[in-house]
C-alpha cells in the first residue's frame, strides 16, 4: 500500500528488513468471550514461530485470522506491508470484502488438525485441484508438481489412492503437500499432529523438519510437540488469555522460562507425556 494514500493508517512496509506479518492491536471476540485481547506481534519473512499455551488461549484463532477463516473484531492485520484484515478505502481502511480476501489468502496455506482432505478426490486431485483451478497451472505441470511433492512427503506411490485408504499420518502428509502445492509464502500449521496416533506423529514431524530446513517459507505453528518446536522454530510465543505471556528463543523458553504461567504450562504438557 503506498503510504502517501493512507497516511493515517500507515502500515509496515513490505521491503527487506521489514516484518512480513503484523498484528496491530488485534481483538477477536466470539460473543462475550474475548479470545484475543489487543494483541501485537510481528513475524519476519522466513521466520518460523511456534505458538504454545493452554487451549483456549487464542493460538488457533491467530492462524484462522491469517487464513481469513475468521474476521478481526478490532485492530488490523498487515501482511507484507499491505492491509490484510482490511482494505484501503479513501484515506482509511474498511473491512475487507470477500474478493479482496480471495486475492490476499493465496499467499497463505494452512494444514489442519483434522487434515480435511477431500474424500471424493484422489490424492493427486486433492493436490492439483487448487493449482489448476486457482493458479491456472497447466494440468501436466500440476501433476508433475503433485508427484514431486508426494515424493517429498514420502508418499509417491499413493498418488492414485483415496484419502480413506490412507492412515491419519499419511493423510496429514498429503495435506501438507496440498498446502505446499499453492506455493504459499506463509504456512500455518494448526496442531497438525494432535489427531494422530502416537506412532504416526514422528513421520509427519520429519516431513515438516525437512520443509523447514530446505525452504525459506514463513511458518506459524501451533503445537504441543515441544521437541519439534524447539528444533525448528526461531521463536516461541507463549500465549495465555489472548495475550502473549512470554516470548523468546526456544532454548530460553523451554530451558529457562521466566514467567510462572510458562513454567506451569510446560510442566503440565510434560506431565501429559507430550
Amino acid at each position: 500500500m503506498p503510504p502517501s494514500e493512507t497516511p493515517l493508517h500507515e502500515g509496515p512496509q513490505g521491503v527487506e528488513g521489514q516484518p512480513l506479518i503484523v498484528f496491530d492491536q488485534v481483538v477477536k471476540r466470539f460473543g462475550d468471550l474475548t479470545v484475543l485481547d489487543h494483541l501485537d506481534f510481528q513475524v519476519d519473512p522466513g521466520e518460523r514461530v511456534t505458538l504454545i499455551g493452554p487451549s483456549g488461549s487464542g493460538k488457533t484463532t491467530i492462524l484462522r485470522l491469517l487464513m481469513t477463516l475468521e474476521k478481526v473484531t478490532e485492530g488490523h492485520i498487515w501482511v507484507d506491508g499491505e492491509p490484510f484484515s482490511h482494505m484501503p478505502r479513501g484515506s482509511g481502511l474498511a473491512p475487507a470484502s470477500e474478493s479482496y480476501l480471495r486475492a490476499k489468502r493465496r499467499r497463505v496455506g494452512m494444514v489442519f488438525q483434522q487434515f480435511n482432505l477431500f474424500p471424493n478426490m484422489t490424492v493427486r486431485q486433492n493436490i492439483t485441484e487448487a493449482p489448476i483451478h486457482v493458479l491456472g497451472t497447466p494440468k501436466d505441470e500440476a501433476n508433475q508438481r503433485a508427484s514431486d511433492l508426494l515424493d517429498l512427503v514420502g508418499l509417491g506411490e499413493k498418488i492414485d489412492a483415496h484419502p480413506t485408504q490412507l492412515s491419519g499420518g499419511q493423510q496429514q502428509r498429503v495435506a501438507i503437500a496440498r498446502a505446499l502445492a499453492m506455493q504459499p509464502e506463509i504456512l500455518l500449521l494448526d496442531e497438525v499432529t494432535s489427531a494422530l496416533d502416537p506412532e504416526l506423529v514422528a513421520g509427519v514431524l520429519d516431513v515438516l523438519r525437512e520443509i523447514a530446513e530446505t525452504t525459506d517459507i514463513t511458518m506459524l505453528c501451533v503445537t504441543h510437540e515441544m521437541g519439534f518446536a524447539r528444533d525448528v522454530s526461531h521463536r516461541v510465543l507463549m500465549f495465555d488469555q489472548g495475550q502473549i505471556a512470554e516470548e523468546g528463543h526456544p532454548d530460553q523458553i523451554f530451558g529457562d522460562p521466566r514467567e510462572e504461567r510458562t513454567k506451569s504450562f510446560l510442566r503440565s504438557v510434560l506431565d501429559n507425556g507430550d
Binding site: M67, T68, L69, R102, R105, R106, V108, G109, M110, F112, Q114, N116, L117, F118, P119, N120, M121, E129, A130, H133, V134, R178, A179, M182
Partner: protein, 211 residues
C-alpha cells in the same frame, strides 16, 4: 370371472398409458432433481433463502391434486395437460428434494469448506467439486425414494385428463363394463415398474449410504 382375452385386447392401450405415466414421472423427476438442488443452494442465501423457504412450505402443505387442478384451470388452454402435469409434479417434488439436498449439504463437514477456502478455491469449484459430490452421494437413496413416490402420484394426472395409465384404464373399463379387471391390471402394471425400481434404489442405498 377373469377374462384373459379381454386382458390381451386392452393391454396395448394400457401399456401406452403406462408409457405416458413413466414419461411424466421421469420428466417430472428431472425437474424435481434440478430445481430442488437450485432451491437448496438459494436457501443458503440471506433473505432470498427465506422467501424460497416460505414458497416451498406452501407447496408442501397443500395437496398435489389441488395444485394440479388449479394450475390446469389457470394455465392458458394452449398448454397441454401433460406439460402442466410434468411441471406441477416436478415443482411439487422439488420442495421435497430440496430438503433432501439441504440435509446432504449440511452433512458435509465444516472442515471441507475451510480447506476449500484455505486453498482459495472459487465458489464454483467449492460447490461443484467438493461440497455437492459429497452431499449428493449421501442423499442418493433418499432421492431415489422420491422417484418411486412420484411414480405412484402420477395417476393424479387423471384429474387433468392426461392419457396416463389410470385414465386409459378408466376409459376402457367403463366402455367394456370390466372395471375390476382394469384396476387389477393397473395395480399390476404399477408393481411391475415399482418393484424393480425399489430393488435398484436399495442397491444404490447399499452402495452409497455406507460411505
Amino acid at each position: 370371472m377373469w377374462d384373459f382375452e379381454f386382458t390381451l385386447e386392452v393391454m396395448p392401450d394400457l401399456l401406452e398409458g403406462l408409457w405416458i405415466t413413466v414419461q411424466a414421472t421421469v420428466m417430472g423427476y428431472l425437474i424435481a432433481l434440478a430445481l430442488g438442488l437450485a432451491i437448496a443452494m438459494v436457501r443458503r442465501v440471506p433473505y432470498a433463502g427465506g422467501v424460497v423457504h416460505a414458497v416451498m412450505e406452501f407447496i408442501r402443505t397443500t395437496p398435489l391434486l389441488v395444485q394440479l387442478v388449479f394450475v390446469f384451470l389457470v394455465a392458458p388452454s394452449t398448454v397441454s395437460g401433460m406439460t402442466i402435469g410434468v411441471v406441477v409434479l416436478g415443482v411439487h417434488y422439488s420442495a421435497y428434494t430440496a430438503e433432501v439436498y439441504r440435509s446432504g449439504i449440511e452433512g458435509v463437514a465444516k472442515g471441507q469448506w475451510e480447506a476449500a477456502r484455505a486453498l482459495s478455491l472459487p465458489a464454483r469449484r467449492t460447490w461443484g467439486a467438493i461440497v455437492l459430490p459429497q452431499a449428493i452421494r449421501k442423499v442418493i437413496p433418499a432421492l431415489g425414494n422420491y422417484l418411486i413416490a412420484m411414480f405412484k402420484d402420477t395417476p393424479l394426472l387423471f384429474a387433468i385428463g392426461v392419457a396416463e395409465l389410470l385414465t386409459q384404464a378408466q376409459r376402457l373399463g367403463a366402455a367394456n363394463f370390466r372395471v375390476v379387471e382394469m384396476y387389477t391390471l393397473v395395480g399390476f402394471l404399477f408393481l411391475i415398474v415399482s418393484i424393480p425400481s425399489a430393488i435398484l434404489i436399495r442397491r444404490l442405498e447399499r452402495r452409497y449410504a455406507a460411505v
